[in-house]
């Protein structure tokens, strides 16, 4: 069950995380809680898989190279192929989607050359062709995700 403190921590600190030596105490002061409460609540949220991490979001392709890849994989083989792909440390997102192209993943590497080598290895291991969809332009300004608590 999410408490008010959990909800505030989830919604109000997705950006502009304090850059002071004691960011969790600063947050606690804002919320009228203690630093210990805030650290405990964040640990609970992480443990319950509501938070992936408290950290930085890096824009794609500013550092290193990334690629969105789609594959069309027969349903019976999807789990196996998906597991093979997830095992690559360069892959950070991997989803099944409702389409003939049913497997969508993102791979990142230090350079375009290394990225192509990884995608080549993935194609070779899985036996399926990678439809490569590189980023051309990013229109989105990431301000975080506003959570709506109704029916949550």
């Amino acid at each position: 069950m999410l408490t008010d403190l959990h909800k505030q921590l989830l919604n109000d600190f997705q950006r502009d995380f304090p850059l002071s030596p004691t960011p969790y105490r600063d947050i606690a002061d804002t919320l009228g809680a203690t630093e210990t409460d805030v650290l405990a609540a964040l640990a609970e949220l992480t443990g319950q898989q509501f938070i992936s991490r408290i950290g930085a979001v890096i824009p794609p392709n500013q550092i290193g190279a990334s690629m969105l890849v789609a594959m069309a994989v027969p349903e019976a083989e999807l789990q196996t192929v998906a597991d093979q792909i997830s095992a690559f440390p360069e892959v950070n997102h991997n989803y099944e989607r409702e389409h003939r192209f049913n497997l969508w993943f993102v791979a990142v590497a230090a350079s375009a050359q290394q990225l192509q080598a990884v995608i080549g290895r993935i194609e070779q291991q899985t036996g399926y062709a990678a439809l490569q969809l590189p980023l051309v332009d990013d229109f989105f300004i990431d301000l975080g995700f506003k959570l709506d608590w109704q029916h949550a």
């Binding site: 969790y24 408290i54 890096i58 550092i63 789609a70 997102h93 989803y95 990142v108 230090a110 959570l147």
Partner: protein, 166 residues
Amino acid sequence: MLEARDLAVLAQVSAGLPLCPRPYAQIGMELGMDEAEIINRVAALKAQGLIKRLGVIVKHRPLGYRANAMVVWDVPDELIKELGATISRFSFVNLCYQRPRQPEWPYNLYCMIHGKDRTTVLAQLEQLNDVCSLARYGRQILFSRRCFKQRGAVYQAQQLTVAAHG
């Protein structure tokens, strides 16, 4: 040009801040820098746009946002910047990208909508269609099913050094 020390800091803060009273000091200990240097470098990386945001990164699915649609359109190239900017302003839109059309995938504008249920997401999509006059363009809606993997990009400092110089 980014210094190796910036890249090391970036790798650490993208992987996540530790849950302890002095997280920047803790990262500093791991990297052989003091707390002030970590904080200053993070502030500079934010100012340069190499950190898009710093804070709590939520997982949508466990929080009840199980309807996740990737929507793609084939829009004229000369309109894509304007359409992308307009679409990005809708609060329910989570990502908005241009990608090149491919022979088997003739779409160039991508957006992601995370919602609690499919009906809501489809209604939001209709709103986008109306406001941006998108109905005339070819479109696909791909709802997600299983999530096999989701985490932040893993950048290793050593690789990043190569990237920064490559």
